[in-house]
Symmetry: C2
Subunit: 178 residues, 2 copies
Amino acid sequence: MIDVSEDELNKFLSGAATKTFKRQEIISKPDAIPNDIFFINKGIIRVLITDNEGVEHTIHFALENQFIADYSNFIQQHPSMYCLQTLEETQVVILPRSLIEWGYNHLREGQKMGRLIAEYYFIYQDDRIKNNYVRTPKQRYDSITDVFPNIHNRVPQHMIASYLGITPIHLSRLKKSK
Amino acid sequence: MIDVSEDELNKFLSGAATKTFKRQEIISKPDAIPNDIFFINKGIIRVLITDNEGVEHTIHFALENQFIADYSNFIQQHPSMYCLQTLEETQVVILPRSLIEWGYNHLREGQKMGRLIAEYYFIYQDDRIKNNYVRTPKQRYDSITDVFPNIHNRVPQHMIASYLGITPIHLSRLKKSK
DNA sequence: TGAATTCATAAACATTTGTTATCGTTTTGT
DNA sequence: ACAAAACGATAACAAATGTTTATGAATTCA
């Protein structure tokens, strides 16, 4: 998507470290300012938010070869409201803020890269907001593997229900009702 | 937010035209590829999407001094699913794709501008998705003026209900229930 | 200004969705 | 391998939300 030389790329990647987390580990906590973006080599990460009543809501699942972060608060350097939790043993590449900013300012097309990335995730969110208006939870459940392939074999159903914004009991009913 | 000279700015703005629409006019239709971004000098624009059953859902209100477009499909150059409709007599500045692209490539910090804009709207959407999980329609109704100041004097209640994802009858009940 | 339309509320009823509790199965961790 | 915990389904009931219809007030437009 952008024009980048071998040299530039190697220089960029040399600033990134790899780390492995066990199953069910918290890799980012609410109230902390997010200073890293993670790239998942292997494993799966769940993004949660806890409401005022203490109920946890699953906002997102991040899979292999995807980036994950509280990007909003990474950009704003504000405390996060999200919690990032591994659901399996998970290996990530950590891209610290300093590296990202170095990329913007020193890669020849760094700013363009930043624009394309932000645009990409904007499009993803727009689609999500749109679908919330025009599709029912059942319809979103039926096509969830479009967004999260193989999710049914990796994530318990009550987390999927949470992601859909319904109770696990209700999801169970929807499945039966065909 | 970006470093831009008087000269650059004038050159950029000379590529934009102003246009005035009457109340209740459609300024962008579904199925068309969005090739313009609008800046609202005066008036208000509603963004709608129509589902498979033919029901209209209000996705957004755009007010004075804001930009509005189907940004996702502007970026992707895909047909829009949105309809943009004025709710009052509305004056807009039209920024065609060619101008935006000229800005990216010829303004000294054009790409950075593009990145910051995309990031800004990403943050807006993230907040919206988050709120949909953790807050009830009533709570979102009670704070709607944070996002759309003076909306109650400019937009009928059934459109606000539609934006909140509930029926106008239900909104009426929620208001009464305090 | 007057007639037609849109709008907000209300009530009665139907449907959807959440809550609580139970049960048998599967998974997890030691 | 075993005990504890997590999981998914189900039923009965409660609460929330949608549907239909009606009515009077407000708004729009000719």
